[in-house]
Every structure is written in C-alpha cells, then in structure tokens.
C-alpha cells in the first residue's frame, strides 16, 4: 500500500489482510505468522453461556462492577482464576527465559489490529488457543502478520529492531488467559494505561503511598538477553507511552463505541468470531483508582484484566 493519506493506507492494510488467501483453516499453525482473517457469516447468535475467564496477567488484577451479563459468573471466575494463577502470577516484568507459557499452544490468530497514534507499525492482538479450551491474548506491534516488540524505550538495548513475541513465551506483556465456554468462546477484557510504545510492557510505577495520582513513570529497560528492569530515575517520555484496551467481548458483540484521544466518539465493528477489539490511544494520565492496601491506600492507574469490561474507554457495545 502506498497511500499518502495515512488512514487510507491503514484501511488498505485492513482490506489486504481480509481478502488475501489465508491458511487452510483460517488459523496459523503454531510458530507461523498470524494474519487477520475475515470470517464471513461469523456472527453466530448463541446463548450467553459465558466462559470461565481466568485473569492471569500482570501485577494489577481488579474486577469492577460493570460487566453486562458477565457479572453473574465473576465469583466462579475468581475461584478458577485463583487456582490457575498458582504458578502463573507475574510478579513484575517477565523475562524471556522462564516466562509463563501458553502450554500446548495449538493455534494463533491475529484477531484485532489498530494503528499507533504516533505512526509506525500498527498494533495487533494475537489469540492463542490451546487444548483443551483455553484462550490467551498477546499484544505487540505488528509486522508482516507477526506481533513483536520494538527495540526502543529501553527494550532490547534500544537496538531498533523488531523482535517477534514467541507463542509459548510471553516475555513482557504477561499472559491474559481464560477458559473457553462450551461453544469455544472466550471473554477477556484488558486495559493497560501505561504501556510503552515498544510493546515491551508497562511503564508506570504505582503512585505515592498517600493516594495521590502516580506521577512517576519509568521506561523499561532490558539487556540484549531480554531481561527487563525499570530504569530507575529515568522518566519515560509521555510520547513513548500508550493507553491500550483490548479483548474478546464474545460472538454477540458487533461493535464498540469509544472516545478517541480527541474526545470524538468512534464506533468500530469488532472482528473475528469472538468479538475482538483493540484500541490504542496516546497516553493520557488516567484517573487514580485507589486499591485496597493493608496499611495505606495505593493509587493504581495502570489498568485491569479480567472478564469484565471496565476500562472506561468503551462507552457502548452493540
């Protein structure tokens, strides 16, 4: 695509991925590049039997009160999640070696993509399916149908190269997994308000112990071996940060409406058979969410992971 109008270029890439032939069953084999696949007639109307979604990712796991009809299964999800969290819970940034893995990954598909607000490679969400019945989401920058991490913002020693994210090891972003329901659908919603543009993970620290909004954000640094550590005392430029919202809303979700960075309401269709979406916005200081703490209130602005839609970015789902 060689359009001088950027949005036309991005739309052209959408069409190119939708119309060009895909692998035989519409999914990639493990270890092969993913491709966004148009699926005519994919909107099956099914009953709302919901997944037991297991929130596994990251250091900040919260469930909120908003969640359409999903609310009824939250207690079950929490119990199942807690069980499966054993051995999975990410304690801060993950390293390439020893990272939690998508055990038995069978298929992987790029289910959603979105442009980066500052240009460059688009972002993509990859859904990894395992047997039996587990779905995980990975997010990264998209190049040639593969998601990966850019060597910038401290990642990979700023080598400027594209580093594909392995299917069975999620080096930075953590795992965002859920069990599928009997119809094979997963329901996962992730909000990450402090991602770095490299897709190498999060950039903020928790706020002060006094409940004030977090003011310090740190780029993540890593050596060439992939080990990630905060660069203490080195603020991450706001331009190198992004607000990410992505997930699977289920097969009945046709479109989402959200406010873009300019405050304009945008409605976009979901993609794929599980109602996938991905919103990438320029970083904006999100509101402080006080989280439970033993001694002092903590201000957590970073995001959420779970079955419920609580990012606050999406205003309507149809």
């Amino acid at each position: 695509m060689n359009q001088r109008i950027r949005v036309l270029q991005e739309l052209g890439e959408e069409f190119e991925r939708a119309v060009m032939p895909a692998p035989a069953d519409g999914r990639e084999a493990v270890g092969e590049p993913g491709r966004l696949v148009g699926q005519p007639g994919r909107r099956r109307r099914v009953s709302s039997r919901l997944a037991w979604v297991v929130p596994v990712a990251g250091r900040r796991i919260r469930f909120g009160p908003i969640g359409l009809a999903l609310a009824a299964i939250v207690p079950i999800a929490i119990v199942v999640g807690a069980l499966l969290l054993l051995g999975h819970a990410a304690q801060g940034p993950q390293t390439v070696s020893g990272a939690p893995s998508v055990e038995g990954a069978r298929t992987a598909t790029i289910v959603a993509r979105a442009p980066d607000p500052h240009g460059g490679l688009a972002w993509g969400v990859r859904e990894v399916r395992t047997s039996p019945g587990k779905a995980c989401l990975q997010i990264g920058r998209l190049k040639g149908g593969i998601i990966g991490v850019l060597g910038q913002d401290g990642a990979y020693a700023n080598d400027g190269r594209f580093h594909p994210i392995a299917l069975e090891g999620v080096p930075f972003g953590g795992l965002n997994c859920g069990l599928t329901d009997r119809n094979g659908h997963a329901f996962i919603n992730i909000s990450d308000n402090d991602a770095v543009a490299s897709a190498a993970g999060d950039a903020t620290t928790n706020g002060s112990a006094h409940g004030a909004p977090a003011r310090v954000w740190l780029c993540l640094a890593s050596s060439s071996t992939g080990r990630v550590e905060p660069t203490k005392g080195s603020p991450c430029p706001r331009g190198d940060m992004r607000d990410l919202s992505y997930g699977l809303l289920g097969p009945d979700a046709v479109s989402i409406t959200y406010l873009n960075a300019g405050g304009r309401r945008v409605t976009e269709p979901t993609t794929g058979s599980d109602g996938a979406y991905l919103i990438v916005r320029a970083y904006s200081t999100p509101p402080c969410v006080l989280t439970t703490a033993i001694r002092k209130p903590q201000c957590d602005i970073a995001g959420s992971t779970g079955p419920l839609l609580r990012s606050g970015v999406i205003t309507a789902v149809t």
Binding site: M1, N2, Q3, R4, I5, R6, V7, L8, E10, L11, G12, E14, F15, E16, A18, V19, M20, P21, L36, V37, G38, Q39, P40, G41, R42, R43, A112, R113, A114, P115, P117, V254, S255, N260, G262, R264, R265, V266, E268, P269, T270, T271, G272
Partner: protein, 181 residues
C-alpha cells in the same frame, strides 16, 4: 479479474479518488471514510463476478457502488457497515493530519463557502443543522446539545439537507468528475 491482488491494486489506485468524491458530497471526512470503506467492502463481495475488460469499466463499477452508498447515507443518515462486518474489516481512526489532508484534496473550504449561499433553500431545521455541522464544523454531539435533539436526529437532518442540496453540490463538486466516471 477476480484475483485478490487485483482487488488490492484497485484499492491502491482508486481509494483516494473515491474518498475525495464522497467527501465533496457529504462535506464530512469521517462519514466519507466510512462510506469509502463500505464501498470497497461491497466491491469485494461482488469481485468474483466482475468481468469488466478495462480499468475504466472497473472504475465506473466502483463509483456506481460509491454512489449507492451515498444514496443510502442520504436516506438513512448513517453509513452502512454491513459488508465491512461481514469481512471483518474495521475502519481505522482518522488522524488529525489526515483530516486536513483530505479536506485539502477535496477542496472542502471553498465548498463550504459556496454552500453558505445554498443553505437558504432548505427548511429551517435542516438549514440550522447543516449550518452548524458543515459551516461551523461542530460535532454531532455539540449540535445535539445545542439544539436539544438527539444525535440521530441531527444526523438525519444533516444528511437530508445534503440530499436536498445535492443538485447544487453536484456542479460545485464537479471538478473531479472528469476523473470519476
């Protein structure tokens, strides 16, 4: 003809012309982008059956689809997205610099000034909505709030106003007609 790569080539060649065509008739770059996307999605649906011999014929067929989308928008007040959903294509978010670029390519500023003189032909409701949307460039939400009516009603008044003005807009917008069948 019905090869995917030929369709991609068609998009690459004609997407901007379709977008400009639709922008000059809707006076709204975001609506025009939605209509452009649906036009190509509809075109892809019909692509296997296309048996046209020349690029000009294919282009004419494409603009026929675009005009049909425009007619739908004028009647219903919103862009159709059925074919887009069917093939799983999402319309990207417009960048600020895109808006300026598209408006420049479509010559929208001169069109807006010409339109001021045509507004008098409209009913009061449509004129007010069109004035606020096209000339004053307010968002639908702002117009809804200002007029105390729903956004859907605002959209309907704007699209119907544009339909009424279509005859006037056509010659104004005709400078690209030479390039569009």
């Amino acid at each position: 003809m019905a090869e995917p790569d030929a369709f991609v080539a068609l998009y690459e060649r004609d997407a901007e012309a379709v977008l400009v065509f639709l922008t000059r008739r809707t006076l709204d770059v975001e609506v025009a982008l939605d209509l452009t996307a649906e036009t190509f999605a509809q075109a892809w649906r019909g692509w296997p059956g296309v048996r046209l011999d020349s690029p000009e014929e294919v282009r004419g067929w494409l603009f026929t689809i675009a005009r049909r989308q425009l007619g739908h928008y004028f009647r219903r007040g919103h862009a159709e997205r059925r074919a887009l959903r069917r093939i799983g294509v999402r319309v990207p978010t417009m960048h600020e610099d895109d808006i300026a670029e598209i408006e420049r390519a479509a010559g929208l500023s001169s069109l807006r000034s010409a339109l001021r003189f045509e507004l008098e032909r409209l009913s009061g409701d449509q004129r007010e909505a069109l004035q606020l949307r096209v000339v004053d460039e307010l968002s639908y939400a702002e117009i809804s709030s200002r007029l105390g009516i729903s956004e859907a009603t605002v959209r309907a008044r704007v699209s119907r106003g544009l339909r009424t003005l279509a005859a006037a807009l056509e010659p104004i917008a005709s400078h690209e007609e030479a390039a569009t069948p």
